[in-house]
Symmetry: C2
Subunit: 208 residues, 2 copies
Amino acid sequence: MSRTDITRLREKGSTDRAALDALLDSCILGHFGIAGDDGPVVIPTAIVRDGDRVLAHGSTGSRWMRRLGSGVPACLTVTALDGVVVARSAFESSLHYRSAVLFGSCAPVADTETALDLISERLIPGRTGEIRRPAKAELAATLVLELPISEWSLKISAGWPEDPDDDVAGDAWAGVVPMTTGYAPPRPAPDLRAGIAVPDSVLRLGSG
Amino acid sequence: MSRTDITRLREKGSTDRAALDALLDSCILGHFGIAGDDGPVVIPTAIVRDGDRVLAHGSTGSRWMRRLGSGVPACLTVTALDGVVVARSAFESSLHYRSAVLFGSCAPVADTETALDLISERLIPGRTGEIRRPAKAELAATLVLELPISEWSLKISAGWPEDPDDDVAGDAWAGVVPMTTGYAPPRPAPDLRAGIAVPDSVLRLGSG
């Protein structure tokens, strides 16, 4: 991202659908808000974008997933932290982030199996080709919900510190410390049988 | 964390206040849920634990911060993703996470300056000693809220895959791929004056 881009994007609301998709596709965690009996409740869940919808899944036994799937008004917020903005004062210091807020209602997905394949492939690309197909009982125990990407807002903070001239003339350092995320080497399960190599899907996670 | 610990913690609700504090102290991002006019709204914000309260701050001009500070019922969810659980089936595959859900009401903090120092020191330890004090106008433009740590729940998923015997006997690999977060090297601001070295606080961020 060039400096021009960074400046242009600083704490601006964006209507750029491609930027929204890029955020949703780079995050696997979202937070759903729904009304509870005594006030709002915020529920973390894995999310996967599929075209113009966001998929989330959980157990059919989950009270919150069932309530979410009943079509009550919902809000899904997806946030990526990208860096620390170190300004010459505490006031101008901040964070680089991208945050999307989506509004709407969730509905259960009829084709659980196809949706679960999408979710599996998003979390561990290539994994579905390495393992058995889901059993009927497993599919029956899984609730997949979809939220249409329809009403949303996107905020991106990606600029340099914007210190006043007096501070720029001073002796304090200023800049950005980017944040990174990644994967550590895979740890085999204690009950893994001897001679089973780390599969391609897991190797790719670490190098992705 | 030993395997015994891991197994014990698998997707268990926890009442361990120390584990709650450890989560809150390892995350700088939280998601507040409050009721909006047309349904719940989930707002991302930096959070800092200070003893038995969680601090969040924003502009006094922020409509959502003001509403949050008015004492309406609020929910704060703080989630850390720690790894991908690669099981021998899609059904048993999941994520390692720690997630806290706090309920209560936020109130404005009277001593904004002290609270902002706490927040600055949490985000960039040592930084307050390197920069000027906040100006009165800056303090007046900043709203700091506190949420008491009172009613909360904590969920921790930290176990190995729990595949059925039939799958363990098969040829699929299983294990955990830990997720990592960190900082990339600092990038100086384009308007940084020559001869100003990267300060200790920023150097420590990268090595922390």
